[in-house]
Symmetry: C2
Subunit: 175 residues, 2 copies
Amino acid sequence: MFPLSRISYAFAMADDLFDDPRLTAMGLLIEVHGGLTARLDPVLSSHGFSGNDFDVLIRVARSPGRQLRMTDLATQTGLSTSGITRVVDRLETSGLVCRQACAHDRRSFMAVLTDAGAGRLAALLPELLDGIERHFTSLLTPERLDAFLTVLRVLRDHVRPGAAAGAERVQAPAS
Amino acid sequence: MFPLSRISYAFAMADDLFDDPRLTAMGLLIEVHGGLTARLDPVLSSHGFSGNDFDVLIRVARSPGRQLRMTDLATQTGLSTSGITRVVDRLETSGLVCRQACAHDRRSFMAVLTDAGAGRLAALLPELLDGIERHFTSLLTPERLDAFLTVLRVLRDHVRPGAAAGAERVQAPAS
DNA sequence: TAAGATTGAGGTCTCAATCTTG
DNA sequence: CAAGATTGAGACCTCAATCTTA
């Protein structure tokens, strides 16, 4: 009932709350993501790219015909459509992608990878893959890495069910 | 030797490069992080916080004396010292932390959690913990979760060796 | 009316420069 | 001179509004 003891009591309760294992788990995931991207960002920026630049380029590069709708790009990357407009603006100014009107829907535009874009990606990738290997995959046994990736897929399928936006449309044109 | 066949050949080579399993692994980690934070952000913002706001508050709350140096806050969160200055500016304006001159080093300032800050954190946490559980920890068996967290710790210790900046100073004052 | 894309306004972060203290 | 913190300038992203097309 004394003020100090009430404060101590409140602090003890809060400590339990602030140290909850779920919070620790989430914090670990965030720290690993942040630490890993911090290691890889210098590789990207030494080639003149930001993380979002690379994300957009690699997703376009892996899409059928090396092209992807602006909207699908937004869904896949998690950026807003406005953000995608500006990223593609910069990449187009740099000559790494170009916009191409969509034949079937005149509202849509495709971001198309140029030869220059493919070249810049190819020039960057060996160094980036080496970085991923040194700071991530090589630190685990093949079995542990496999189990880790399996869990990541479970989580991704839950939190991002539409991760493949723009791909299934090509696989199954339906109409 | 015909132009078209050279193009196809170059594309086939690039496909292998663009689909490298290391890239897929890193992409999975990024997608899970992005998807999970996208699920939790609405919880934070409904309480008036950004991800960085919460990160700063929870780190201060878990530190001895509920206070942490600006520089250590920057190291722990991965933000620049400039960024920390501005986050703490906003939190101080909102009355959730306050700056306190450091007794032993007049260059330093401590960010101290206020009672109001602790209260706002405590009010937010149940909902946040529930979100983490629903979108992350409850999706895995205890064994799988354990193995997953073990791997995350391995990766964190590699990419962020100084993750506990500001804590060991208190643990071992040395001088 | 809804969907796709873009634009303007506003917020947050980083980099470089600056000031103070060790 | 180095470390800690802050400030101004610039880059990037989001939200809301707008325009065009389905």
